[in-house]
């Protein structure tokens, strides 16, 4: 029962990681770039949300409804002002530019919010749980998981069924050819990053409700998102979701073996996947 409980808690944790990973999978799939500030943006949005809750008295759902558009706007701005200049075959400029921005952002948050860890009050929902047979499941983690599933499904459908999704996939396959049929790559890229960071609005709200955030946490979120994407397999939306589940389960089980081993277990599974199945568990669909 101990282990089954571990798996269940892992899947629930994976729901949060999936919300980190979706945007990263989308951005890498479309532009082949990694935004090193990915995790810092989660923290930034979470801190903005907590401040909004404290200053304007917003409830958690109102915070969520505010953070998603703020995230989308930040993403759009990030792409327009910065990333569009560094998209290209050479990974160095985008990596270094966002690396520098990440250091600046972390320290700017430190100046504004101090190093304290903070969290967002959920109005009692944090304590609520339901029992599934002998296992107790928190209501909030369940909501996070459902939300992650809907986001993944929604993003997948958007990619497959909409005009915008088709232009994204076309730009991802051959950006110059996409431009030749009328797709404006800069707009497509800006929209992709807006969606990616908009999804981080969900991640930020739930992260702040489920546990705590502090300005220096970003790199961990970045690494978890990255591990989920690689475990699942590059370029696949549902792959990122599944990778997040595997990462969550690995950490939860590792944590039960020894509290100091939880995060490390996730890293080891990631390295094992690279060794055994470098294309990820779920290959990109043809």
């Amino acid at each position: 029962m101990h282990w089954i409980d571990g798996i269940v808690q892992g899947v629930l944790l994976g729901g949060l990681y999936a919300q980190y990973a979706l945007g990263m999978a989308l951005m890498f799939g479309v532009m082949k770039i990694v935004n090193v500030t990915h995790g810092d943006l989660v923290v930034l949005l979470a801190l903005i949300g907590i401040s909004l809750a404290n200053v304007a008295g917003l409830g958690p759902w109102a915070v969520l409804a505010t953070l998603v558009p703020i995230g989308a706007a930040l993403g759009w701005l990030l792409q327009r002002a910065l990333l569009n200049r560094v998209v290209g075959n050479d990974p160095l400029p985008s990596l270094i530019a966002t690396f520098g921005l990440s250091i600046a952002l972390q320290n700017a948050m430190l100046v504004i919010w101090s190093a304290d860890t903070r969290s967002l009050s959920g109005g009692g929902i944090q304590q609520a749980s339901i029992s599934l047979g002998p296992i107790f499941v928190g209501v909030l983690p369940l909501i996070v998981l459902i939300c992650a599933t809907l986001l993944t499904g929604g993003l997948d459908l958007t990619m497959r069924r909409t005009r915008f999704g088709r232009s994204l996939r076309a730009a991802s396959a051959d950006v110059e050819a996409a431009a030749m049929v009328g797709v404006n790559p800069r707009n497509v890229y800006a929209a992709a990053t807006a969606i990616a960071v908009g999804i981080l609005g969900f991640a930020a709200t739930f992260q702040a409700m489920r546990s705590t955030v502090a300005p220096a946490d970003g790199p961990f979120q970045l690494i978890f998102a990255f591990e989920a994407v690689i475990i699942g397999g590059l370029g696949s939306i549902w792959g990122a979701f599944a990778g997040a589940m595997i990462l969550g389960i690995s950490q939860a089980i590792g944590f039960r073996i020894s509290p100091g081993f939880g995060i490390l277990a996730g890293h080891l599974v990631f390295l094992a996947v690279l060794a055994i199945r470098p294309q990820g568990i779920f290959q990109r669909r043809a």
Binding site: P91, G100, L274
Partner: protein
Amino acid sequence: MSKYRVARMTLSGRVALVLFTAALVGICAMPWWASQGLIRDVVTLACYIAVAQMWNMLAGYGGVVSVGQQAFVGVAAYAMFVLAQTFGVNPFLAVFLSLLAPAILAVPIYGLLHRLEGAYFAIGTWVVAEALRLVATNMPMLNGGAGMSLRVMTQFSAHERAVASSLLAAALLLVTLGGSYLLLRSRYGIALTAMRDNPVAAASQGVDVGRLRLLIFIATAVGTGFAGAVYFMAQLRITPPSAFDANWANLAIFIVMVGGIGSLEGVIIGAVIYFFADRWFGEYGASYLIVLGLLTLVCALYFRGGIWGLWSKWVEAPWFPTRRRLIRLDGDKA
């Protein structure tokens, strides 16, 4: 028929070589002329230059971007502590023996991560460094999160320690800067420069890009580890967060990007700037780091060659000339 000779040395290069040699001699002789504080500063600066130059070789020439070089700093430093403190090996000897650890570790790390594309490789190195930090934290042999002290150093006098630190700092600079310079001037240098400028074209000209990248990954791991062992020998104490501190990657990237990627001169300029910036503005903590981060960003966006790149546009006087020039021997001006 004119006769030609291939020349690489320039006047500025000769002057720089003399200065570099003089600086190394001066560093070796530090115990007899410098204060304890100055020796410590020079050791620190030498470590910055070494770590940055290794990142520069990796990213600037090898085309391999890593943000997890602290993995090798920590592994070599811990290996040195274990050899010297736990097994009683002479610490000076232990510094060199400990370099086996990053060399051995670099092979599987590269083997695993090279399957990831460009930017993902870089994040992968970060994961490895994090994993190693957690391993160190969980290892009883390394005293876990509490860290280790190099108590064996107390058997040496202050003067003996100063001599060791000074010689190691000089050796570190000789190996990382001098070694890079010799490598770039060798036949591998041509291949490396070709690979930096265009990996696909280099591959088509018979350069084994994959093998060369593995070799440079191992070599830079050793150089980075050397800096780690020297740095923590001077610190006398090591903990997992300090050994595997992401700041090692931060400072390497800042130094190389601001100084000028793909040049040895840029690394020296960048390291000196970082060293003094850290001294003078370090007390401002976060605000200072915001500026460092933004400077790195601006260099990546607008000044890819950094300060040295801007300077070279005005003055053609390389300190470490690696380019080959054709010189006509018979003096025929026609």
